[in-house]
Symmetry: C2
Subunit: 329 residues, 2 copies
Amino acid sequence: MQKRVTQRDVAARAGVSQAAVSRVMAEHGYVAEDVRARIMDAAAALGYRPDPVARTLITGRSNIVAVVVGNVVNPFFPVALSALTEALRQEDREVLLFNAAPGQNIDDLIPGVLRYKVAGIIVMTVALGSRAADLCAEAGVPYVLFHRYAEQGGAFAVACDSGAGGREAARHLVATGCRTMAYVGGLEDSSPNRDRANGFIAGLREAGLVPVEHLNGAFTYDWGREATNGLLYRHPDLDAVFCGDDAIACGVVDALRYDLGRKVPDEVSVIGFDDVPQANWAAYRLTTVRQPLEAMIAQTLTLLNHPEDEARRLHLLPGEMIIRATTRR
Amino acid sequence: MQKRVTQRDVAARAGVSQAAVSRVMAEHGYVAEDVRARIMDAAAALGYRPDPVARTLITGRSNIVAVVVGNVVNPFFPVALSALTEALRQEDREVLLFNAAPGQNIDDLIPGVLRYKVAGIIVMTVALGSRAADLCAEAGVPYVLFHRYAEQGGAFAVACDSGAGGREAARHLVATGCRTMAYVGGLEDSSPNRDRANGFIAGLREAGLVPVEHLNGAFTYDWGREATNGLLYRHPDLDAVFCGDDAIACGVVDALRYDLGRKVPDEVSVIGFDDVPQANWAAYRLTTVRQPLEAMIAQTLTLLNHPEDEARRLHLLPGEMIIRATTRR
DNA sequence: CTGAAAGCGCTAACAG
DNA sequence: CTGTTAGCGCTTTCAG
């Protein structure tokens, strides 16, 4: 349990004041080249690493980014979180992970997060608060919604252009001969869900069509499966389903094949959203809209690092339609 | 960007010294009941919340737990991480998430983690270091390996009893009439992989059998699928595969069905490990060994909170065989 | 039991 | 350009 090496130790070894060491380490203020070199040598020799806690206490800012997640079992979440933490790691930022309790409002979580003097907050939960963005603005902490956005509050938001994706999905289904279609969505009042539904409806309208049903539920496999059983009971002639995400789509495909004995895509086409790894598993080969994850993350980091440079609040990035085997040719 | 309320403000309002406030907040040292009450009232009125950064600076300990993860796409990882952070949240501990770069040794990561004066470190990566446990012991920081263990180093480790699980899997396959079997494992030198393989081999030996092949690769769907194609080419009479985990098992099942046209389980039985959500999807209905996640997490927290009470280093918890539809009756 | 006082390791004025 | 000097907000002796 040896003492950590501090700036005082480095200063003593380099024969300078502790403040000089601080100036070098904080890259702040001028230091003569030779002195700087002596200090760097001493620091290296002693194995000095700055203490982030002390630094945070005085500057009022850490290099930690808070990521707020919901209790998500959705397969897109680990993919996004993993890519996000990896990108943050490359910028030498740490990630403080906050788990919103089921149903907990973000607003109640933010003050606790702010105590850690975080450099920014990225929110990936569905339940958006109304005051959260203001609280962060007040504290001068960049606040970015990832994968969803809020109508009000003026928070930065980065997401896939779900509306365009939904429209593309509709066009593809129409082009492959589908006519009797339904939307099986996830959480009703989430922006991705709303946009996907509206985009899909708009796409169908271009062909003079209207979805026979529009269901909302949860972004889960089980919901997709459950919804499908009712749907096909009411509309035995259904020939396509557009889903809120891939998890739902897998549930829809399985219900169609194993619960109802329908052929996919010969009798019913299915399109998902996200392009999670499972979407390409041989049992599904899901046609889906891939989220531009890399671009979304890059944009998020840009907003986090230079919020003042950016006037636009909402950043919608185009997804890419991936055509596989759950839609007809 | 208003000033945060500090202990000085609370002290002023309660008419006591700042030190008295500290004693109440830190629950350390004696304070008269009426004074304590006055302080609590003042704190509540002012909305005081202690500053964790300042507290950490002086005590040298935060209430943050570091969780080190690898670049895992394995579906068991999000399930475990989610459950773990939720459990930690209930103990009012924050989670600092460290992403080990691909191939990065934990040893190199630990000093950086330790700078944050974390209350403990939980490691979920595959690449274990040899010095990590010592570094943490030196710093007095509890160190727990989750889901895997190291032969040396004397670190605490909590994992499913993979050996017992492998043996049970073997017995079930033997009991349902399989005779020509193989093991398709994940990362060769990881403890779960080794134990599952050895348990499986031991289980077969009880019946006087020996696996016809024993493959190692990665804990991924793609590897399971790839391995299976070669395996069936060399052993067309294969009637069962035990897999390193569910992701591999899904790949094996898909290869069997879609690449090779074999019937599962009629011609070939498949058993996975973990019981991730996908294992119960209708397309798979995987027979598998469920990890005792809740118990593993409880044990991990116990070790983190009271490492001194526990002499035993390795904690192997029994899994549960879940029989579904990829094995015969 | 309570207050005064000394820092934790570091940054940021401020003189020199 | 460099050293001296105040603290950041809190915990923890040490007297009283």
